[in-house]
Each structure stands twice: as C-alpha cells, then as structure tokens.
Symmetry: C2
Subunit: 228 residues, 2 copies
C-alpha cells in the first residue's frame, strides 16, 4: 500500500466519511458498496476508515442519526425558541416548522444524508429501533404543535393532530421524490402552498393570513434554495 | 441439479416471480439478491427463471411497471368511469381517487410490489425514464381531477392544482412508511381524515360534506383493509 494514498480528511473526518458513503450508497447501491469503496473514495487507508467506523451498518446508522440531528437542530430547536403562548405565536411555530422542514429536505448540501433516512436498507434491529424512535419523536413533536394551534384556534376541524401530523410529514418528506432545482416550484413557493393546504385543511380556519412575518434568516435561506 | 427441484410455478409464473423477487429485495437488499436466490426461492431452475427474465434489472423494472399497472387499473380506470360533469360528480371523482389510492398503498397482497416503486434502486436510464414517465402521468391525472373540482367549485383557493397534486400524492404514498395493520388509524379513517384535510386545504370549500356515497365495492374493500 502506498504511503501517500493514506491521507486523512482534513476536518470533521467522521462527517466527511458519512457524506462520501451516503453518496456512494446512492450512486451504486448500499449492498454493492464495500468498506473498501468508501475508504478508496476518501483516499483513506482501510485502517483509517475502521478507526472511525467498524462496519457498513454502523456507517448507515450514523448517516441516519446525522439526518435526524440535522432535523432536530434546524427545525425542532428553532421552533422551540418561538414563544407559542398566543394564537399568533402558536401559528408562527407551525408555519416555521413547515418552512424549515421543507428547507432541510431541499438542502442541496445535506441531500445525500437526508435521502438515506427514507430508504429501506436492512439495519440490525437494535439500530433500526433507535432510528425509528427518533422518527416517531419527530412526528410527536409535530403532533403537539398542531394540537396546540387547533386548541388555541378553537378549531372546528375534525382532523386529529395525529393524522394531520402524519399527512404533513408525508407531504413534506415526499418532496425529495419529485423536486428538481430550477423547476417552476421553488422552495419558497412549495412552503407557501403547502402551508396554505395544511392550515386550511387541518386547522380549518380560513382566517389565517397568507404571509406572516418570518424570522428573516428563515426567509432568506429559503429563497436562497429556490434558485439553486 | 435434481430434477424434482425444477418446478414451474403453476399459474401466472411471471407475477409469481415478480412477487417473490420483490420480497427478497426487501428482506435482504436488492444488490445482495442474486438471480440464483430468486430461482431458489421459487424452486425454479436458473433456465426456468431466465426464460421469463433476462436480468435482475429487468425484474426490478417489471416490478415497478406492475405497481404502476395496479395503480392505473384500480385508481385511474375506476375514477374515469365516474361521471364528473357536475360539481358532485367531480368531487366524487377526487374523493374516490383519494380512497382508492390509499387502498392500493395499504393492500397487504400488493405491498411487496408497490413499496419497490419508491425505493431508489439503480435502474438503467432508459428503464428509469419509462417508470418516471408513468409516475408523472399519474401526477398529471391527479392534477387534472383537482383542477376540475376547483373550477366547478369556483374555488377561491390560492393553491395550484400542480402543488396540490404533489402534496396529495406525497401524503398518501408516505403512508407505507408508518402504517401498521391493526393500529388506531384504519384505512377507512385515514381516507376520511386525509380527504378532509385535502378538500378543505386545496379546494378551499368548507361546504363539502364529510361522508359522500361511495360505490359500495370501494367502501367494503376499504373497511376490509382496516382490520387486516
């Protein structure tokens, strides 16, 4: 083995490995990708790779965990910081959740990672349960936000927060199946229309305004995505 | 090779092969499954298998095509037979489409086949394009049905039929990611709540009744699924 081929990635080696592995899994299939392929793509020695991850299962698990961390950091943590005590605040939380979740799905730099979350690759049962637990936690979080808006609105809706949360998470997570950057439906436009469908459909109040103020960081990062 | 191991499946051999292959692909991964595995699972000789399909790609393509045929037969063809000339007729088409599409996703006997449609397995570009073309045709069909209901309703909705169709197809196709037979959300209940969200959300009319008459075959087959 040549010495000069054994380069360590410069920074965040674990994240670089996860990203490169996720890309290979999508390009050539999970099963068809070996630990050797991952090491080669990163110009890592096999030892260098095994220093970080013991197996392909472990890499897949950490890709999925990382996708959940991205969602938790960029959606849950931001939404939690919004004061939801008033009707407008509770609404703002739900509207921000919809936009930020769409933003995570459309994020070009995290795409390799987040797409893996929804593919049905075989993972050992204990690891699978951990990932599924975090997915369920996310749906519960969405469910509570929805329940809160419905309650504060005295919503006449016959839609349960549970069914509404599953429908919302479904319509958003599905975007990766059809979205093409540069297409007529920009990230901003998807967020506007999906919010409209969901607020009218699940809160049952047509009185909710179209364009509420959003934290400017949210708005600018979203419009940034629309023309990538 | 023992002669008695070389049994041909009795009926619809191609469909039996597709079903068995789809099951193996999900259990052990697409790449990890060989043509030999498929032949062995069916107690077919390799020659017997190759008589029907030349390669694993071809099997995967036909699994996906079959999933699209199921959707076309059980959703599109039924919906097309409903007279959509009146407001009630157009609504009935959309409501039936939602129920039947959910029914296809939940169908236990077609699950192996339909799940494969959404997995991102590498398929040669020409075959991939054919499948994607049929998926796009389905979204266009849904889009036209929605546009027609909006028009007949003089809908005040600011949701375009395109975004609405993508949201609807997404929330329904996503069901396979979380649905557990015997859980609190039955097929019938999902159809009711998703219809409510979608009609209010994308048609924008709260005047649409909750429980319209459905062809009795549709209703009974749906409730049949709910307790499987």
């Amino acid at each position: 083995m040549l010495r000069e081929a054994t380069l360590e990635p410069r920074q965040e080696p674990r994240q670089e490995i996860l990203r490169a592995a996720a890309r290979l899994f999508q390009q050539q299939g999970y099963d068809a990708t070996s630990m050797n392929d991952v090491a080669a793509a990163l110009k890592l020695s096999k030892g260098g790779l095994y220093h970080h991850f013991q197996s392909k299962d472990e890499i897949l698990f950490h890709i999925m965990s990382h996708a959940m961390e991205i969602t938790e950091e960029r959606v849950i943590n931001v939404v939690r910081r919004i004061d939801g005590a008033t009707v407008a605040g509770a609404e703002e939380r739900l509207r921000t959740l919809i936009r930020l979740h769409i933003q995570v799905v459309l994020s070009p730099e995290d795409r390799e990672i987040t797409v893996m979350l929804h593919e049905n690759h075989p993972l050992p049962p204990t690891l699978r349960r951990k990932i599924n637990g975090r997915k369920k936690d996310y749906v519960h979080f969405v469910e509570h936000i929805i329940a809160d808006v419905q309650r504060k609105h005295n919503s006449p809706s016959q839609v349960t927060p549970r069914a509404a949360a599953l429908a919302l998470v479904g319509m958003i997570n599905w975007i990766y199946q059809w979205y093409k950057p540069g297409g007529p439906l920009t990230g901003e436009e998807i967020a506007r229309q999906y919010s409209e469908i969901f607020f009218r459909g699940a809160i049952g109040s047509g009185a909710i305004g179209e364009s509420r103020k959003l934290p400017s960081a949210v708005r600018s990062s979203l419009s940034g995505h629309s023309d990538v």
